[in-house]
Each structure stands twice: as C-alpha cells, then as structure tokens.
Symmetry: C2
Subunit: 321 residues, 2 copies
C-alpha cells in the first residue's frame, strides 16, 4: 500500500495539528495518546480518494476525512471498554492505561471533535454530509449493540450476522466514500454506487477476518489462531456450521463450547468445520460480496479513471490464508 | 412555574414524537425510558424563551431546544455511570436498570440524536449554532472531568471550583439561551449578554445547591441533609471553610472526614462551618453571581419586554432555605 502512504502522512499530519488542549490532563492525554497510535487510516484515505475520483482536490475533503477518522477512534475507545479489550493496535487501551470513566469521557469528547471537523466542511454540502454522517453514526452504535446481544444468544442466523457486521463496520466505509463524493458534487447515482461499493467491500473484509482467525497464518495475521472459537464467538464459520451440522455434529459442537483444553477445543471444532466444508462456503460468500462491491465500483461514472481506491481495497482483500 | 407549563408540554410532546426505533431493543428501550423521565426541562425552555424574547416564533427554535435537551440527557446517562448513581429523577439510572455497556452505548446514540436535531435547525444559522454547541459540549465534558479529578484531590481552591461548576453545568444554560438568540437573528451584543446571563445564573444556581444540601429543608430539598459532607465532597462551603480555618479547626475538619458516625460527622462539620460563617459567605458569593446575571439580562436590548426568562430563573433561585 505504498500508493496510499502520502495520504496516510497527510492524515497523520492533520491529526497532529489538531489543537488538543493540555487541561484537564486526564481528559486530553488519552485523546492525544489514542489519535497517535499507528493505524492503517483506511477510512479517511477512502474519503480523500473518493473526492479525487470525482474530480475534487483532496484538500477539500480533509475535514470530512478527519471527521470519519476521529469518529472511528471514538467508537474504538468505547468498544474497547465494552469488550474489556486490553490492547488496541498493540498498545494498552484507554480504559486499561487510565480507567473506564476516563475512557467514557475522552471517547465522548472525541465524538464532539468529529462534529467539529464536520462543521469545517464546505457549507454548501454540509447538510448532506451531516445527514449521512448522523445516519451512519447511529447505525454503527446499533451494530455494536447487536454484536453485544449476540454474545449471550444461543442462535444467530446468517442474515442477522451479516446485518450486524454491515452496521458495525461496513456502513462507515460506505459513508467515508460517499462523503468524498458529496464534497466533489458528483451525481446522486455515483454517490449511491460508491457507498454500496464501500458497504459490500466492508462485509467481504469482515468475513475474511472470520476466516483468517481460524485458517490464517499465525505470523501474518498476528494473533492467536482460533481465538474466535476459544471465545465461543459467533462468526460466519460457526453460524454456517450450526446450520449444516447433523444431530451428532451439533452435539459435539455444543460439548466443545465448554471444553477447557485449548487444543482439543480448537482442533475438534475445526475438524467439524472441515467435515461440513464451511471454510469454502465462507470464501464463496466473501467473494460474492467482493464481486458485488466491484460491480458497484464499475457502475460509477467518472471521467477520472483513477483506480487508487481499488488498489487500497484490493490490498486489504489479499491478506494471505 | 405555571407560566412555563405550556413550554414543558411542547418539549415533552416533541420528545414523544421523536421516532425511536424498536430494535435493537437494548439500545433504544433505555433511550425511550430516559427521555420520558419527568424533568423540569429548564434548558430547552430557555432556548424557546430566548428566541421569543428576541422576536422569533418559538417553533423555529424547537429543534435547537430538543438538541439541548437530548444532549443534556446524554450527559446525565454517562455521568450517572461515572458517579455510580443508582437513581435519577427518582427512577433507576440506565446502568442500574440495564447495565454499564448499554448505558455507554445508548448515551452515545443520544449524543448523535442531539446532532440530528441540530441539523434540522434553519440552515442560515446552522454554522453559528454548531459552533456554540460544539464548544459547549466539549466544555461540559471538561467540567465533568474536573469534577472527577477533584474527588481524589486534597485541595481545591475557590477559583478552580467555580470554573468546574461553570463548565459542568452553567455553560449549557448560556448555550441554550444563545441558541435561541441566534435563531432570532439578534445582535452579537445581545447574544453575548444572554449567554453571560445564563452562565452566571447557572453558577448562582450551583452554589445554591451546595448551600441547600446542608442548610435546606429536608422536605423541600427532597434528599438527605448533609449528603455532601457524608460523601466528603468538595463544595463551596467546604472550600471556604478550608481556606478560613485556623490550625485547630483544620485538624478537626480533617478528623471528621474519617468519622463513621453520621450525626457526629455532619453536625461536627456544620458547627465549624458556623464558627467560620461560611454559609453567609456562600450566600454572598451566590448573590454576586445572581446580580451579575441580572446585569447582563438588563443589558439586553430587545423591543419585546418579555420577562418570562426571568420568571423561570427566579423561580429556580427562590427555593427555600
């Protein structure tokens, strides 16, 4: 993703230039800390690239890109509290490094800071930007709530699961792209197509994540293989397995949920997944969403033939299995 | 406050009309529950009355008033988590009735809903509204952080304390009033005066709260007399006492902080407060802020001689001691 390094630099630089006050220190230190954690900055880059695709100077999309990135960081700080996550981007999460109250409040301020950036966008397109931003922000919270609800539910079906990952993560990619398109004053059709491209590529991404968690290369994925199985997490793999299993397999899967031995738990579950061929089925579903995304991208009508957006998203879809 | 009952009704009705989705239930039930708790609705009423004072139809200020009220509710839900408060307006708090994660997330959605209302305000004044709203929203969070910081600090001086209550609660009153003024397209001077009126009346109000907590009539105040002393809370009373006490009194006050017997603790502290005359000094400071507020109100230039705003705020300043 060398191509996007100039965009990453621009976003990092803009984040550094944000005027974060010094006091109260317990409010602003966590914000400075979190905004400076290294990240791929996919979402703001998509906003910039989308504006460029539709013939606008990326500088005009700068504040919208920052709004998206800052909002994303707010959701991460609050999600990390809810998920009791100790690490984020290899560093301590805010509630771990400080405490939960500080994480709640500094997250709140970040959300307001996102709206501050939004308010700096070109006034002529501000109402449209606020509309899509608010809609998306609410959806992201709905997705997080569904995700939490699913943790304590026995049965989650494929449709509900896809809806959850769509809301929790994919709509923000669509929103990032559409905001760039809005700033470039492109057609309603183009706005819709680039939004749908983002949403569908996002769903494909998340499904890829589920597959990589179990079938990925430990070195390349950078985390415990089978972590989702260990945590008894609903994933597309486990949902498909649940719907395809015969009585005996279903019974085994259920027993494995309370298995204490890590290896038996992961390998036992994996071997039933293999019997049922759920990896291939997941890959197929992922590729369907990927193809759907590309169809929307191809339906975009732009004089500018820039494929930079595809380069960025394809790079994300090519992590090795 | 019969005068304002029509305004309360309008706000309640508008809150009822908000389209709160049904699903995810764990996200939206708490929001519906909290928005329907009875409250005085001071802040949105001030927005409506301010618009009216400057010659605008209150309906034009409806969405701004709702934005203020919804934002205020968001802060209450999150503050209640941080303060581990079991009750709000006589009912269970959201984190008690559901859980902390649900309270975090439904609070987040409420903040976004506040911005949704803001986006519905007249486009011509939207940039000004967003600017004051964002500035105030950040300040309210800063005030909450200062309040939390003060809990674990030995020494807090009067200036810091006033700054904390100003940020935590008073600026939102100023903002509510200024937003009404902005919508009515009044002069910059009027905007400033009505804002300062709100901020200063808010500070007077909070000081009154501190005094009432110890010197109020239990029946009329509706809570445990001396609750702040029991909780070893920094208040203007305790801060003044700390700065005026001689060595012996200071030693006694310190010992009383770890006193287990409720009566000894409250009465012992109160008798030192009485020796030092801190109640009178607090009343004087409160009246100074009250007078400062009235001076700003009197400096407002409006053809409309409506005193409705004063009626509302004076009623709040006349709770019995």
């Amino acid at each position: 993703m060398n191509l996007s390094s100039q965009y990453i630099d621009l976003i990092q630089e803009e984040l550094r230039l944000l005027e974060i006050p010094e006091s109260p220190e317990n409010l602003y230190s966590p914000i400075g800390y979190f905004l400076n954690l290294k990240g791929k900055k996919i979402r703001p880059i998509l906003t910039l690239l989308s504006a460029e695709l539709f013939g606008e100077n990326i500088k005009k999309a700068k504040h919208a890109a920052l709004a998206i990135e800052i909002f994303h960081n707010f959701t991460l700080i609050h999600d990390d509290i809810m998920d009791e996550a100790p690490l984020r981007r290899g560093q301590q999460t805010v509630h771990e490094k400080w405490n939960t109250n500080i994480a709640i409040l500094s997250g709140d301020v970040l959300m307001i800071k996102a709206y501050e950036q939004l308010a700096l966008c070109p006034p002529a397109v501000l109402p449209d930007l606020i509309t899509i931003f608010n809609k998306t922000a609410v959806e992201v919270c709905e997705g997080q709530q569904m995700d939490m609800d699913f943790e304590t539910r026995e049965e989650v079906n494929q449709e509900e699961y896809i809806q959850m990952i769509k809301l929790k993560t994919s709509v923000l990619l669509g929103c990032a792209l559409e905001m760039g398109a809005i700033i470039a004053h492109t057609s309603k059709k183009n706005r819709l197509e680039i939004y749908q491209f983002g949403v569908n590529i996002g769903i494909a991404f998340q499904i890829q994540d589920d597959i990589l968690d179990l079938y990925g290369d430990k070195e390349k994925v950078g985390k415990q293989v089978g972590g989702d199985i260990l945590a008894n997490k609903n994933t597309l793999l486990s949902i498909l397995a649940g719907s395809l299993a015969n009585d005996e397999q279903a019974k085994k899967l259920k027993l494995l949920k309370s298995e204490k031995d890590t290896n038996i738990k992961i390998n036992g579950t994996k071997s039933i997944f293999d019997e049922l061929g759920v990896k291939l089925k997941c890959l197929q579903i992922m590729q369907d969403y990927h193809q759907k995304a590309l169809n929307h991208f191809n339906a975009v009508q732009s004089e500018n033939q820039s494929l930079a957006i595809l380069d960025v998203t394809q790079a994300l879809m090519k992590r090795e299995f």
